[in-house]
Symmetry: C2
C-alpha cells in the first residue's frame, strides 16, 4: 500500500476478472472459451499490409501527426454511411475502442451517487468503465427476449433519482448471446423518451448475425434519444483500438471535450489505416466470412453441448449471432468452483457472476465460440461436461454418505 492520499473512487478500483481471464488465456496449452477474443483467422493481414504501405507512402506525414479530437473525416463519413439511419458525420466521434466511449459517457452523465441502469447480466467492462465515476448501479431484468421493458419503467426513477442513462446491448448480448426482440424495441425507445432517459446503445456484435440481421437499432428509431456505440474490433481487429460513438448534436461537444482531455485523439495512423482498408467496400466481402466461421463454431458448440450435457440438468442460450452463449448449471452448483476444476484440465471459461452489478447468479457461465477451433470447442465442452458430472457425482456420493452415516 502507498502512503499517498488517493481519490475515494480508487477503493472501488480493484483487479478485474476480465484481466485475470485475459492472462489465463495466454497460458500455453489452455483452451480458453473465456475471453471475448475474435478469431485471429479473421484478421485481414493482407489488407492491413497494403493499407499500411499506402498510408505511410502517400499520407504518412498526416497519418503520423497529431490530429483533431473528433477523428479522421474520411473515417467519420464511412461510419455515417454504414449506419441504417440518417447520420451526419459531425455526430460521429472516433474513440479508442468502444471501451473509451463508455468512459466518456460515464464522465459526461455520472456524478458520485447518480443512479444508472444496466441489464442483468451486462458487459463486465462497462461496469468497470462506469465505476470510477461512482454511480449507484441498478440492474434491469432480462429474459430470453432481452431486457424487460416493464422493469425498466419500474426502475426509471424521478427527479434526482431519475436514472442518468440505460446502458443496453440489444444484439447478441455480451454475456448472454440474447437479442432484444423487435416487439420490445419500440416500446423501450418510447419508454426512455417518456422518462427523458438517454439510451446508451452498445452494438459491437450486430454485424455478426448467422442467418438474418437483427432488428433495427434503438438509435435508428429515435436518434435524438440515444447515444450509439460501435467498433471495428469485431469486424476488423481489436488490436487497433478503434471504435466510435454517434451522439445527438446537443451532447456531442461534451463527449468530445471529455475525449480531448482523456487522450487528445485516437491514433491517427490507425484511423487512416482503417479508412484505407474500408475503401471499395472491403467489409461487404469480409464480414460474411466472419459470420460463416462463427456460425460454424457456434453450431459446433451447440452440437457438443447437446451431445455431452445429456441428463445433467444444464441449460443454455441459442444465439442467432455474436460471440457468446450462456449456460446455467443445475441448482446448487457454482460456476467458479467448476472453473477451478476445469482450469486443472486446461479449459477456461468465465463464471457468469462477474457480469452482474449485484447478486450475480452463481450457476451461470459464459462460453465464447469464436477464439477456439471446432475441434478445441468439442474437446473443451467434453471437459466441462465431465467436470459437471464429476461434481454432481461427488455431491450424490456426499448425499449418499450423509444418508448412511
Amino acid at each position: 500500500m502507498t502512503a499517498w492520499t488517493l481519490a475515494q473512487r480508487t477503493a472501488g478500483m480493484n483487479p478485474s476478472a476480465l484481466w485475470e481471464i485475459l492472462k489465463l488465456g495466454e497460458r500455453p496449452g489452455v483452451i480458453s472459451l473465456a475471453g471475448g477474443l475474435p478469431s485471429p483467422h479473421t484478421f485481414p493481414i493482407d489488407a492491413f499490409s497494403e493499407a499500411a504501405e499506402h498510408v505511410l507512402r502517400s499520407e504518412g506525414h498526416l497519418a503520423l501527426q497529431y490530429a483533431g479530437t473528433d477523428g479522421h473525416s474520411g473515417l467519420r463519413e464511412a461510419v455515417a454511411r454504414s449506419l441504417p439511419w440518417k447520420v451526419d458525420p459531425a455526430q460521429v466521434l472516433i474513440t479508442t475502442g468502444s471501451q473509451q466511449a463508455l468512459d466518456l459517457v460515464a464522465k459526461v452523465f455520472v456524478d458520485p451517487g447518480s443512479r444508472i441502469l444496466v441489464e442483468a447480466p451486462t458487459y463486465l467492462g462497462a461496469l468497470h468503465a462506469f465505476a470510477p465515476m461512482q454511480p449507484r448501479i441498478d440492474a434491469v431484468a432480462s429474459d430470453d427476449d432481452g431486457l424487460v421493458v416493464e422493469d425498466f419503467v419500474h426502475r426509471a426513477g424521478n427527479g434526482a433519482e431519475r436514472a442518468r442513462f440505460l446502458y443496453v446491448l440489444p444484439n447478441f448480448q455480451n454475456p448472454t448471446g440474447r437479442t432484444l426482440a423487435e416487439s420490445r424495441r419500440d416500446a423501450l425507445v418510447q419508454a426512455a423518451a417518456a422518462h427523458n432517459i438517454p439510451l446508451i446503445e452498445d452494438n459491437p456484435y450486430g454485424d455478426l448475425w448467422f442467418d438474418q440481421p437483427p432488428p433495427a437499432p434503438l438509435t435508428a428509431r429515435n436518434p435524438e434519444g440515444c447515444i450509439y456505440l460501435g467498433t471495428f474490433s469485431k469486424v476488423l481487429a481489436p488490436g487497433l483500438r478503434l471504435g466510435y460513438l454517434v451522439a445527438p448534436k446537443a451532447i456531442y461537444p461534451k463527449l468530445m471535450q471529455a475525449k480531448q482531455a482523456a487522450d487528445l485523439h485516437t491514433s491517427s495512423f490507425n484511423q487512416h489505416l482503417v479508412a484505407q482498408v474500408l475503401q471499395g467496400g472491403f467489409l461487404q466481402q469480409h464480414i460474411p466470412t466472419i459470420r460463416a466461421l462463427y456460425k460454424r463454431q457456434c453450431h459446433a458448440m451447440l452440437d457438443a453441448l447437446q451431445a455431452q450435457m445429456q441428463g445433467l440438468g444444464v441449460t443454455w442460450t441459442r444465439p442467432a449471432g455474436g460471440m457468446f452463449l450462456w449456460l446455467r448449471l443445475p441448482e446448487g452448483m457454482d460456476a467458479t468452483a467448476l472453473l477451478h476444476d476445469c482450469v486443472q484440465r486446461n479449459v477456461a471459461f468465465t463464471p457468469g457472476s462477474a457480469f452482474y452489478a449485484h447478486d450475480g447468479d452463481p450457476r451461470t457461465l459464459r462460453l465464447s465460440y469464436v477464439t477456439a477451433t471446432e475441434a478445441q470447442i468439442r474437446a473443451a465442452i467434453a471437459v466441462i461436461a465431465d467436470a459437471v458430472r464429476t461434481q454432481l457425482t461427488a455431491r450424490g456420493l456426499q448425499r449418499a454418505v450423509a444418508h448412511t452415516v
Copy 2:
C-alpha cells in the same frame, strides 16, 4: 443544449483553446507557430514501413488481437532500459499518449475539491486532463530556473488541504521552454518527500536537447516519490498515441485498473510497431537528427526575434532544447489582441494566458519553432514584430490624441 441531466463536472468541460489552435493550423496558407506539432520531416517513414510489414507478417495475429492492459512486454523492457535509473519493466504502464497518463493520475489522486499543484504557467492539456476530476488547482511560481521550490513548500498544505500531487515539467517546459535548474532538483525532491506529496514528472521533451542533456530527472533522484511520464510522440511520431508512465509498485495497480476501465489497453499494433522500430538502437541514430533540426530552427527564431523586435520592449526565453519559447509583450499589450491581428495576416501563435490555471499573464505568448521551416519562422516573426509595432504606434497615436484633446 440537451434536456438530459449531465454530471456537474461537465460545467467545466468547455471548448479548448488547444482544439481551436489545432483547427487554426490546418487552414491552408497559415504559418502556425501555435501548435506543438513535431516537424513531420522527422517522422521515420521508412522505419515504420519496414516495421509494419514485419509485424503484420511475423506476428500479425498477436499485434491485431486484444492484449494485456499493462502493455507489450518487449516495449516495456525497452522503456525500462532507456531510463537513467533502475526501472523494473513491471513498473512501466504503456498509455495512449502521455495525455492518457494525466487522465489516469487525476482519476487515482483527485477527489472533487482536492488541492493539486501545477507550475505557473503549465501544459494546457494537463489542466484539461485534471479538470474532469474537479480539483482545486493551485499554481506554484516559476522563474528562469523553473519552479520555485520555496513557493512549492509554501503551498504544500497539511491534512485534508495537503496537495494530492505536484505536476511538473522539468525539461524545456511547455509552454516556457525553461529547464528546472540542477540546484533546485534535489531540493524539490526532498521537499516533496518531506511533505509526502507525489511528484508527477512529465518529460516529453527531455531527449530534445541542443548542446547538452538536461540534469537527471526528479524520478531518478527518488523513484518511490515520483510518477514519471514519457512519450514516443516527440522522438518518433505523435499520431501513434504511444506514451508510458513509470510508477512505484505500490500505486501501479490503481493506475493500471484506471487504464483498463478507460480503454482496455493501448493499440497492440502500435506497440508492436514501435517495439520493432526500436530494435537495433534506432533512436540513438534518429534523435540526434531531430535535435539538430530543432536547434537550427530555434536559432533561426532567436536570430529573427533579435533582428525584428529591436526596441519594442519584448522579452523572450532562450531554450536549451525542446519545442517552444515564451515571449512577453510590453506593458499594456495583450497577446490575444495581437493574435487577432496576426491571424488576419496568416500567422498564428498561442496566447500565454491559456497556460495558467488562474490569473493568466495577458502579455505572454508561446511560439513553437519545430513545425514551420526556417524561412517560415523568419516570415512569421517579421509579421508578429510588425503587428506589435503597429499596435504600439496606434497606442502612441491614441495617447497623442488623448493628450491633444
